[in-house]
Amino acid sequence: MLFNPYEIRKDFPILSQKINKKQLVYLDNSATSQKPKFVIKAIMDYYTKNNANVHRGVHTLANRATEDLEDARRKVASFIGSKNPKQIIFCYNATDALNMIANGYGRKFLTPGDSVMVTRMEHHANFVPWQIVCKENLCNFVISELKENGELDFSDFKKKLTPKVKIVCISHMSNVTGIINPIKQIIELAHKNSSIVVIDGAQGVVYDKVDVTDLDCDFYCFSGHKLYSSMGIGVLYGKESLFNKMEPFRYGGEMIADVFDDYTTFGELPYRFEGGTPNVAGAISLGAAIDYLNSLNLEQIHNYEKELFNFAYEKLQEINGLKIYGKSENQTGIVSFTLANISNLDCAIFLNGMGIAVRSGTHCAIPIMRNYGISGTIRASFSFYNTKEEVLYLVDAIKKVQNLLLAKNE
């Protein structure tokens, strides 16, 4: 069956509205995705039929809520190829998960003189927590550089991957350039070096198939809201052996085994890392989003997104004065660009005037911006509900912005 984005758009109620009297063209998917009606219904059903606090009750609603939460955990595990749902920790988002690893694992096991390696393309969430832990634990913070086309410079990576590097932190996919990193190869290299690998999958899980078992991944995390579920739910996957050594990051209710006056013992996986009432509705919405994606066929979705990306890249680069950042065979979903003599903010503001939602700024990735010598970019990020027609509308709108602002500037 042919992939039909026009049919799929009907599943996303928000897309039918007008913004500034123009049809909404939502191209800010890498910041957050829109939600299909099935996800919205799952949240509504939970709160209208099954809401109760999980784990601690014996009554019917508590049992239903607990079952729904655990069902969502099983769906997530299966979606990313984890063999055991216990390896799925629900948290707030990818940032939260990365902070959990940096503080619960990094802070505990990094000793003075060790190194942590990140890359120049990281989101601040996979950069700053490690920078802070390195400072506090007197470790070296090593940055693996990029090639001019935005891909990871493998020779630099290998050179810097010394025996001192205990943890390698890398994004599955850049949230600025859309370049997908060869994470399987990176994990193999890092493991030969006895380093563990932390993968920030915030973008990668959306645009690429993930199989943590095949990847032999140590830690992988992502945010639910970028994967068509609600905000405030995230996933941290980890190997059981690592979780068993890791310190809980958040102490509190459900995560304990027993509490004495002078010490506390902690519960089993995954609850040891889920102190406090979890975002049950969020987890259920993530389960519903996964069901929805599976029903559409993930491979078809990714192929269509790649096709749309290629089309957008080609059309955008034809615009005079427009510069795209990043060029790779392994790139999809995201196009970051600047316009000569027009500020990114002005461009985004005027595009909004024409109904187009894009993002301008550093995209929480100042290290790569500084590398390019720019203060930010305009980022158009695509989803499977976007169309080629919308891409052409964007191209036309950018030309209008240029006419409007460059004429004023002359």
């Binding site: 500034n20 903010l345 002005d346 005037g353 700024g361 602002l405």
Partner: protein, 143 residues
Amino acid sequence: MNNIQNRVKKLKDEFDLLEDWLDQYTYLVSIATTFPEKEFEETENNKIQGCQSIAYLDCHHDQKNRVFFYCKSDSLVIQGLLGLVTNCFNGLTPEEILDFSGDFLEIIGIKKHFTSTRSVGIESAINKMKDYCKVLLKNYKRN
């Protein structure tokens, strides 16, 4: 009505005539491009915090203690907004400027087009202008 209130009302009247979103923004851009440019050094000290674009503020006063501000930004929209504020404030006394209260964008009727983070940048610029006025008044009283 004092000087600032008069100037702000005039601005509001102008914006009220521009109903369309795009017209209002285009008007802001024209203000930015027709506003007299003044070269001044860009430092961390005169950077306007909270602006989503890069913006700087330069403050002056003359012998009659009238205050003058100059702004620059890489964004024409922000430059236009800052131009509106400086148009209202320039040539007034520190007392008159310190007397101004309220949300500038709200008063001139274009708040709905700006996210709260973008409004913060304009608020921050106004606070910076007021800080300059406070220091000026303090020095004036001391002398």
